[in-house]
């Protein structure tokens, strides 16, 4: 799976996969591949959503310093 994938794109792809599987039009081996990908995407989404720490960065015209979380 793409490391730079965003939550949004993962959710979108997951949706797509579920719809494809539900249509039942794919051959079995392809369906299984889709299932595996979907499972991974769902886990990815869960993991992203489980982020506990909010990141906060302060920007000003003069400097760009990094703050810790709030």
């Amino acid at each position: 799976m793409n490391k730079k994938m965003t939550f949004e794109s993962a959710l979108e792809r997951l949706n797509e996969i579920v719809e494809q599987l539900e249509s039942g039009e794919k051959p079995l081996d392809e369906s299984l591949k889709l299932f595996e990908e979907g499972s991974a995407l769902a886990s990815f989404c869960y993991k992203k959503l489980s982020v506990a720490e909010q990141k906060i960065k302060t920007v000003t015209e003069q400097e760009e310093k990094k703050d810790g979380q709030n």
């Binding site: 939550f7 079995l28 369906s31 299932f35 499972s39 769902a42 302060t58 920007v59 015209e61």
Partner: protein, 413 residues
Amino acid sequence: MAEGLAILTVTQLTTYIKSQFEGDKNLVNVFVTGEISNFMDNYRSGHLYFSLKDGRSLIRAVMFARNASRLRFQPENGMKVIVRGRVGVYEVSGQYQLYVADMQPEGLGALNLAFEQLKAKLEKEGLFSTERKKAIPKFPQKIGVITSPTGAAVHDIITVLGRRYPLAEVIFCPVQVQGKLAAPQIVAALDLMNRRKCADVIIVGRGGGSLEDLWPFNEEPVARAVAASEIPVISAVGHETDFTICDFAADLRAPTPSAAAELAVPDRAELFGAVQSLRHRLVEAAEKEVTDELSRLVPLTESRVLKSPFESIELRREHVGRLVKALNDTAAQKAESAKVKLSGISGRLNALSPLAVLSRGYAAIFNEVGKPVSMAHNVSKDEKITVRFSDGALNCTVDGKEEKAGYEQKNDV
């Protein structure tokens, strides 16, 4: 003034008149209400010249640039105003007039009027039109926040963002949100964020306050910067009932800073639910697919092995296998009982067989053409016949025959 008939110069008289006006306590600080007419704005000097009138009278008035620059609204002809000032005389033209220090629109406050005026102006320019509004991204990864570092707004916004969608990073740009420096700082912050493209959506705003406190958000440069922002802007100024020009120029207005944060990001709990339901549908669909496929494949060829990544396939396979086995068993049982039945039938059949009769010591006679002969009547002398026993046959020639008298040929088989 001197007694008698002294002759005065124009200046002497005018100076006297002027001093009369200026010495009159009733005229040095007056509040006058009237309608503006003959309005003239001297762009070079910044002084305002106009008249105030009511149904019957008219007085000329001047407001010097020093005072006029403090006006938040734009005076215009026909506008009803209350002015404060003094009455004086302009010697050059010999006119008495109002020297206006301050002016308020009648009815509406000055700020209210300024608000309405700027709103009308920008609206006419199309700055607030719906076509200009940019969509707020559904899943922003970076959220710009432009507000005071000390107010409640920043705390509210960050708290709500953290609760609803902590996966988005907050890019905070601290600014003053009231006073003279506020507007330029807000404009600079919007500009900075757009230049660095460091946010997917920007929340700009502050907590509640008086109209005066909220004023920076009603200033034209702020409205223009908000409208010009490439990054979608959510405006969140004051309370639900506060509307600012910034709200109209923004892509989305939020009633409060907390509400802005809610509008800016999706809710994590809802997303959890959505992902869960998708995962559920995923598993259901895959299982259905596999069972459908198996129910077609298994009876056809057992040898086809499907490597499945999930155990339910194995379970279902076993189940199908058991079904197939049960089916086979049933078939075998049926075959067995059929066999038993068959042997019974063949036993009975055997008992009826002519061969069985022969085995008990009887013999069967056949004529030359192989036809069975059951009566002596049907055989002639010298005819060749075959006598069949259970273990073989004798070929014989008839030497002679005895016939029972009266026995008619009836049952020739």
